[in-house]
């Protein structure tokens, strides 16, 4: 009896317990389902953001990026209508032709009504966004007081709407709006995502504006130079013409004593004219605006013609001119006028610096691996150049150096210009000389014009840079309009073991930064063509150069402005050279490369940031995968340090995103985790990982991370050296 009772109690208890377990299980499942559906939504959001990020980076125009965003957002929200309004110069939103319409026939009336309107701040849905600079949501536009298109919406069956700003900094550059067929309550998750979309698109516009500004600035510069030279040439020509008239008068009326001073005026004016023409030529070459007129011509007659022209000048110093040119030299394909100009320059220089001697011009053809070349050399028996003079001649080739000017007379720019022309035609000018014995300048040009559009790189760096050793040296790009500064900086940094390339202006600097991908850039702030702030913004705004550390060099002390624009360091002129080389060395230690630290834990991030900064790294941070994607779009790091467990978008998801993007696939990833990885986890990580570090002691972790990253970069450098 009693045992039966016991059993009953036992049974009742078990039943109760089972009941409880069932409830707990139901609850667990509910939690799991909710988490799954959240994950799914998050995944969709991430896909949308990824789409937009890629579009923002790869779209060739702002319109393309906007169109992708319209389609992406409509697909994400399953809303049928999306549209873009752009702000015009008067600050009013103007409708564009950018639409997403699931059914263009059905929404025709709404489209028409929209395109017929403009929106001022606070009027209508777009106007509200323009005014408040943040997203807005209308549950039902047909019932909204501030929705001027409500009739058209009613007629086409559109109900809910939301809009968000495309922000460039604080400024609303455009507004995107979307509509659905049903009334809908505001969805915070959607609005948050849209804020991201808006800022991504804002960056596309920002980049485009920077490019436009650059183009405009360079157009202004060219225009200015063209105007100036015209303004100068007109009166100069008048001076020359009138003075020559006066000379004739003087001769005719036998006032011979007036003749000589007038002659001096004419010569001075002609010299000035030549200087202006040279400067214009050089600036055109530097701006990439100098066009070559390539044609096929017979070599011998052209050379002969130039030699004849210089005959009188040579005779002045009792020099004899000797031309060694086989009559069957044949044809070449190049810009004849520029070759004449270069040759004339070399022969007249030779004649000027030789007395009672011989100037020999010899022409030949040679065959090399690189094809057939025409070689024209001009040798004199004059005073020659010392090794030091020769070095300076080429080192200072770009600019009119005072001593060069004295030595050669003329503008001193002739040689530089001639050389640039030859380089544009795929050749070069070189010099050999022995003091007291004479000099030989040699023009070498491809017989067949190979690459008339070859980029003109200023060869202002000393020749030693071409040795293998210096190829390993980190390359520093020095942007400064002052040739003395460029010279001194080049000299100093070369001595410190850096390779140096210089640019004399912002435009050229930006182009070189993109082409050469230097390890670091030193940038002057006060430059005539484009000021340093604009250049810095353009460097940081272009994904191709955003990762290159920039050290500002200037006389204006505005550190904070520099740092806020993304400068790595700041030096006030006069520059402390050892300070500069220390800064550059620490920047270049990691080849000036960047690391992105992705971890939701502030403490870990700030610890890593400090340690990595000291190790010379450029550190970007993100608190989760989603933010990391945004950072990646801003600037591509060389290495990523990644935590696995994070809210919003975890490490696994970010890795998936990295692998599905061609540009990011190769970035080495160092995983940090406090989790014991299961086989499943390892399978998901699937090899593409540099190294997995367990989170334990902070200090140990930091030094381990530094260690792995350093080795990682070492290896990559090794690779790039092995395959130059």
């Amino acid at each position: 009896m009693e045992s039966l009772n016991d059993a009953d109690i036992q049974l009742a208890r078990l039943k109760k317990r089972l009941d409880r377990e069932q409830r707990a299980r139901a609850e667990s499942e509910a939690i799991a389902e909710k988490a799954l559906s959240e994950l799914y939504t998050k995944k969709k959001e991430i896909e949308l953001l990824q789409l937009i990020t890629v579009a923002a980076n790869e779209a060739s125009t702002v319109d393309d990026a906007m169109r992708t965003a319209l389609d992406g957002v409509c697909a994400h929200t399953r809303w049928p209508v999306g549209h873009v309004h752009l702000k015009d110069s008067a600050g009013v939103l103007v409708s564009t032709s950018l639409w997403h319409l699931d059914n263009s026939e059905r929404y025709k009336t709404f489209r028409k009504a929209t395109e017929a309107m403009t929106f001022v701040p606070s009027i209508g849905l777009p106007g509200r966004v323009l005014e408040e600079r943040k997203p807005a949501w209308i549950v039902d536009v047909t019932k909204d007081d501030n929705f001027p298109r409500s009739k058209a919406a009613q007629d086409t069956g559109l109900r809910a709407g939301f809009a968000f700003p495309v922000l460039v900094g604080e400024e609303v550059a455009a507004v995107m709006e979307f509509f659905s067929d049903e009334p809908a309550e505001p969805d915070d998750a959607v609005l948050t995502i849209m804020a991201h979309v808006g800022s991504q698109l804002g960056r596309v516009i920002e980049r485009r504006r920077a490019e436009d500004a650059l183009k405009l600035a360079s157009q202004h510069k060219s225009q200015f130079l063209a105007n100036m030279s015209h303004e100068l040439r007109t009166p100069l020509n008048a001076i020359i013409g009138i003075t020559e008239m006066l000379q004739e008068d003087a001769r005719d009326s036998d006032r011979g004593n007036e003749f000589e001073p007038l002659d001096r005026v004419v010569r001075a004016a002609r010299h000035l004219l030549a200087v202006i023409n040279d400067i214009l030529d050089l600036s055109k070459i530097e701006a990439g605006k100098m066009d070559l007129h390539v044609s096929s011509f017979e070599i011998a007659p052209v050379v002969q013609d130039v030699v004849n022209t210089v005959g009188t000048l040579a005779a002045k110093n009792q020099n004899s001119l000797k031309l060694e040119c086989p009559p069957d030299m044949g044809f070449m394909c190049a810009d004849q006028t520029r070759i004449r100009q270069a040759l004339l320059n070399l022969i007249s220089n030779a004649a000027k610096f030789t007395e009672n001697g011989t100037v020999t011009i010899s022409v030949s053809r040679t065959i090399a691996e690189t094809g057939e070349w025409v070689v024209i050399s001009v040798s004199d028996t004059g005073i020659g150049l010392t090794a030091e003079q020769k070095g300076r001649l080429f080192q200072d080739f770009v600019q009119a150096d005072a001593s060069t000017t004295r030595r050669y007379g003329g503008t001193g720019l002739g040689l530089a210009i001639s050389r640039r022309f030859c380089q544009m035609m795929g050749g070069d000018i070189t010099v050999e000389s022995e003091p007291g014995r004479g000099s030989t300048f040699t023009i070498r040009l491809p017989a067949q014009e190979t690459q008339s559009q070859a980029p003109v790189l200023p060869k202002s760096s000393p020749p030693t840079l071409r040795s293998t050793d210096s190829q390993r040296a980190p390359l520093i790009l020095v942007i400064d309009d002052d040739d003395a500064v460029r010279k001194v900086t080049t000299h100093f940094l070369t001595r410190e073991g850096f390779a140096v390339t210089t640019a004399s202006g912002g435009r050229e600097g930006l182009r070189l930064a993109r082409e050469l991908q230097p390890a670091a850039i030193t940038l002057d702030i006060m430059m005539p063509d484009l000021d340093g702030w604009t250049v810095l913004a353009a460097i940081k705004g272009d994904p191709a150069t955003a990762g290159i550390p920039v050290v500002l060099m200037t006389i204006v002390d505005e550190k904070n402005r520099g740092y806020s624009l993304g400068a790595a360091d700041y030096m006030v002129k006069p520059v402390d050279w050892s300070g500069l080389s220390g800064v550059l060395r620490s920047i270049c230690k990691s080849a000036g490369r960047g690391v992105l630290v992705v971890d939701d834990d502030d403490a870990i991030r700030s610890g890593l940031r400090r340690a990595l900064h000291e190790g010379g790294w450029q550190v970007a941070e993100a608190e989760n995968g989603r933010v990391a994607l945004a950072r990646l779009a801003e600037a591509q790091p060389d290495v990523i340090v990644l935590d696995l467990m994070m809210p919003e978008m975890d490490g696994f998801e970010l890795l998936d995103a990295l692998r599905s993007n061609r540009a990011w696939r190769e970035i080495p990833v160092l995983v940090l985790t406090a989790k014991d990885l299961t086989d499943d986890d390892r399978a998901r990580l699937n090899g593409g990982i540099e190294r997995i570090l367990q989170k334990r002691d902070r200090q140990e972790l930091l030094s381990e991370v530094l260690d792995v990253l350093d080795r990682c970069i070492e290896r990559r450098r090794g690779e790039s050296i092995a395959v130059p």
Partner: protein, 182 residues
């Protein structure tokens, strides 16, 4: 409070006092007792269970909590061995509470409300841990620390010069350990 804590309490009560005791506690505390480890449940339910245990076992509530902590920690160590395997001694383990252990706990159990300790490490002998929490569960911390020392086979001396339960604005846990002999 996370369901996992209730699960732990259930596990140690069943193990040490039998299934009936747990049933009796649930009844006395008037809770339905269905706890899922990832769920969130009102703190009061835990306090009621502790209260019920205190009268059933004739033990002060603090002692119940301390006992719970002492017995729950080995279960946690079983579940998450890497937190412990990374160290050889109590002190370095305790120093990773904020940065590693509880920060990971927050991710493993979304919504977990774990305390943040601040440390005074000026002495290499004595570690001072400052604890502040509306739940005033310093006894739980004590239990955890006792079990941790046992885990590393160290002799522990632990007291609280300041305690919120005695009217101070924070608790100070004074911890020193030395390797157990033999």
């Amino acid at each position: 409070m996370k369901g996992v804590v209730f699960n732990l309490l259930e596990a140690v009560v069943r193990r040490d006092y039998g299934d009936d005791t747990w049933e009796a506690l649930l009844e006395a505390a008037n809770t339905d007792g269905a706890y899922s480890s990832l769920g969130n449940y009102p703190d009061e339910e835990m306090m009621k269970l502790v209260g019920a245990a205190s009268s059933a076992l004739k033990m002060p509530a603090d002692d119940v909590v301390r006992w719970f902590g002492r017995n729950a920690l080995p279960l946690l160590a079983n579940k998450h061995p890497h937190f412990f395997a990374a160290h050889k001694s109590t002190r370095p383990f305790l120093l990773t509470l904020n940065d590693v252990i509880h920060s990971e706990v927050r991710k493993l159990y979304p919504g977990a409300d774990v305390p943040v300790f601040s440390y005074d490490t000026s002495s290499s002998e004595v570690l001072l841990m400052h604890y502040k929490s509306p739940r005033k569960l310093c006894a739980l911390a004590e239990g955890f620390i006792e079990a941790t020392a046992a885990y590393y086979a160290e002799e522990l001396s632990l007291d609280q010069p300041e305690c919120m339960n005695r009217g101070d604005d924070k608790c100070v846990l004074r911890v020193s350990v030395k390797k157990a002999r033999g």
